[in-house]
Symmetry: C2
Subunit: 380 residues, 2 copies
Amino acid sequence: MIQFTINKNAFLSAMRIAKQAIGSKIAIPVLSKLKIQVTSEGIHFTASNGQISIEKLLPANDKDAGMLIDSEGAILLEANFFDSIVAQLPDITFTFEEIENYQVKLSSGKSEITLKGQQPELYPMIQQITAKPSTKIAVGELKELFNETAFAVSTQESRPILTGVNIQLIDHQNLQAVATDSHRLSQRRIKLESFGEDFQVVVPNRAINSFRSVFSNDEDTISVFLNATQILFKNSTINFYSRLVEGNYPDTDRLIPDPSLYSLNLILDVADFLHAMNRAKLLTAGLQGGTVKLSVHDDKLMLTVNTPEVGSSFEELTMLEKSGQDIEISFNPQFLIDALRVLKEPKVKISFISNVRPFTLVPKDDSENFIQLITPVRTN
Amino acid sequence: MIQFTINKNAFLSAMRIAKQAIGSKIAIPVLSKLKIQVTSEGIHFTASNGQISIEKLLPANDKDAGMLIDSEGAILLEANFFDSIVAQLPDITFTFEEIENYQVKLSSGKSEITLKGQQPELYPMIQQITAKPSTKIAVGELKELFNETAFAVSTQESRPILTGVNIQLIDHQNLQAVATDSHRLSQRRIKLESFGEDFQVVVPNRAINSFRSVFSNDEDTISVFLNATQILFKNSTINFYSRLVEGNYPDTDRLIPDPSLYSLNLILDVADFLHAMNRAKLLTAGLQGGTVKLSVHDDKLMLTVNTPEVGSSFEELTMLEKSGQDIEISFNPQFLIDALRVLKEPKVKISFISNVRPFTLVPKDDSENFIQLITPVRTN
């Protein structure tokens, strides 16, 4: 039966990494629990929502934990309740002692708390991935790749494949992510330092959101493992498993226009354009499908919104460069806001074919590796 | 028709003071609007939820506003929408211009926004209070008085009179506040510097919450005005009106025990006791009427919670002083948490009559002016 003494904060930090797998919706009751397994390696925390599973090891020799293991074992505890109890313990250290009937006694200062647990055998097995790693990548790079694409996934369950981000390793070294909800698309490519085996998988957006908070150190390098149904991101103490979205991702390459088709290219200041879009969005607020009209006439760029119920707005924007023909085109301002927000460069190049064809946004000085498409709205 | 130019942030700050009267539930549609009236004095903002009404003046000579009034008038605008539009204006100043059909044109930088408004006559009249002020008080003192009592009001609409704080001016100078939900009571008295006419009113808790955020400067002195149905808190630029709760407040003086009845007096450390209660509360969590048992035996004070569904806790607490007989008494830990939180002194005196009679808490070194009562829970 388990017995150990440990620093409260080190214990909580490690536990909470695993606990992030537990969402607000509990698919089956046992998944509201946390599995705590104590071995000579340290304390293993396991939590899952059925789609995402996280295993976190707090190593026995962790310098902040001051861990003293008297006895090994495993137990299940109600995750949120246990967390709130530990957080309120009076002393900086506490003793965790398993007693009869899968109960746990926590002692800290003059306080003694006994909690009901359950036998560890009730917890579902996490399917292990035994393959060799497909590639290695810095956490910060992967987060950036996710950040620049995941916002464009579909939230509609009618086409489940579009609720994930399509991730491919191409030519052993080029990692590409694509997301689309069929109205807009974002495609980003980065060159990895290490080589790997080519792959193509669709990672659910929920897993991408969790990934960002679970792997907090951007400098860290993680290995990526795959099997037919799962992806595993792994560092020295964390195993982060996610189910993949099943199905064939649509061929998005054919959607990217040939640059020879563009009739108008503009260079705009990202911050100015974003602020203008935020204002335009307010005037369309509350209206499904509210649009803003962008008009380019000679050397003027104008943005107009007209929502009879609430009012109208009119704004001139400076074009840093213009080449091509004038246009009038309408679109959902939220799509532009999302697209501009993830641009780190100060200038964006926007290219139009016609007012009924998708237009593209690329960073002015890195147009090769990052492209976004937005479909206009036809208005008459 | 209104026309003025002004600093955006000064305008927003003043407007948002009035806007706090507008809650999330709009009683009648016109109360979602803000009334803006421009006179030679400056800009008057008026907002109301029917119970609370706030008038805020941004004076024409306000040094941060840089106000330039070209033309006076009044108009109604949709409060939240207007706020979000102004907040997004590109420049640090903007021009507000009323145009035909109660429309407003906002110009800022290269942006021009036209909003629909309504004629000011549609806004309900705020009933004015013409009486002389009943008393004057520093904002900070009044906030403290509210803070120490309002938490104990009832949230049950079955006895509306208990949903407010009973405020009395006694002997022209002693301001007393009492709140009770019939399970616990808090009574606080402060001596004012200025004299006033005695009064007794019940102020709704909602108004007390708004008061705290509307009057942000604790050093400020406000005047209190009353009529039969309303209270008005007033400083140089804000009129804060609230309806009073109608009815007779129960005589709470008779509930306060005679000190000769106490069989046990304890002095405890407030912070220690509060932390212990927070832990105890966790073990009763989710259970309506979960209780903690406090046992005093000889020189030991023990707190126990036993909730068969989740677990139990046991904790020893240090008594700084004890005089009287031993006791075992059970109560709702939340009541203790609420009571201890508002104590600013580090030590509390708790006095018991028996395990079925309410017990009292007073600050150890200021026992005259602040008393709280808590009714125990009978357990068998």
